[in-house]
Symmetry: C2
Subunit: 202 residues, 2 copies
Amino acid sequence: MTTARVRDQYHHGDLEVALITTARKFVKKNGLESLSLRQIANEIGVSPSAAYHYFPDRNSLLSALGFSLFEELADYQERELAKVPGASARAARERFRNLGRTYFDWAIREPHFFNLMFSDFCLIESSMDQAREENRAYQTLVHCLDDLVETGSMDKKVRASAELLSWSVVHGTTSLIVSGHLASEDFERALDSLELALGIRK
Amino acid sequence: MTTARVRDQYHHGDLEVALITTARKFVKKNGLESLSLRQIANEIGVSPSAAYHYFPDRNSLLSALGFSLFEELADYQERELAKVPGASARAARERFRNLGRTYFDWAIREPHFFNLMFSDFCLIESSMDQAREENRAYQTLVHCLDDLVETGSMDKKVRASAELLSWSVVHGTTSLIVSGHLASEDFERALDSLELALGIRK
DNA sequence: CCCTTATCTGAACAATGTACAGATGATAGA
DNA sequence: TCTATCATCTGTACATTGTTCAGATAAGGG
């Protein structure tokens, strides 16, 4: 029967994916606070306790979703950067600026996702070095900065702290804009200041 | 009787304060997620529904607590800055650096407070200009930057975007460290980069 | 001293996270 | 093809939560 067919899918390991996908939908709409395991189970058409075979509790589901969002962000950034190819200095500069913009756009479009990603649910427990190696978005930043140096757009002297400064400025303005403490227009101004600070030649 | 004495206090307008104070205690210990109105009421020795005469719902109590924490932060920063008096360039530079450090220390000591302050519960709804005028911590930053210019430690050219850059760098690193994406040591490095970017003379 | 008004209580309700005993269906071996 | 095993899911239950509302209680002014 058709009703049994639906259930069969989850016997093949789709429930874990379905849980995250549905959780994503709810968080996207209403944020994390109001996320209900029962609503998710209901939406999927499964009993409230079925989720407990894949996640020990509600928090774990939110963690899993959060970490998958980091992958999504990395995908999005890589897609956008691919639109600006070329080894020229100009292209490298544009890629760097776009990288910041994608971070900001991602957060503005889905503030609830942004909040989840940097909430307690996604606290990093592994070593800092390992975490950054596994963070593809961070690696993209590293490559962008390398490109700037190689194309002669950025001085080697500032390179050492360039990741730190870039991420801090971009994340800081984004976070403050999402929480309503700064205006959207401030983001481009902050990018200007950042490029100036990094000594990026125009 | 003594038990009645306790209740009498709340007839004189102390319950609103007690609610926020007790909520503060719980958030400090366990964060916002697990904050329970019933536990708070129980701790105070009042019925679960008593809170509803002062706050329309749980969210409003969290908002009130969050905004009061901004005042606390401002108080803390002002107290710390008062420890470095004097109109010298050297004093102005030290005050500026200390201002960043107090922001960071506050967040590290009480990460749950920091999270609440920049969560959905404390979203700014008023106009940006008005919000920043009422934000005493922001005003302290403005004054510190003015001092830097007046004492000749900072160039007027970078003054225009100095608040934006300072707050973004300090808030960005702090937020990323609290969420485990950067290491504590990165904060001082970020401050160094910021001072360099602002052209603060050593 | 009473009466109005602010303040708080008690009981109730629906929703939630979570635990656990059992049912159900897939799959591998005979 | 039948059967036994095992992962997967259901049903029920329980404590806790936010929230509502009718009524009790105390305070303060006339």
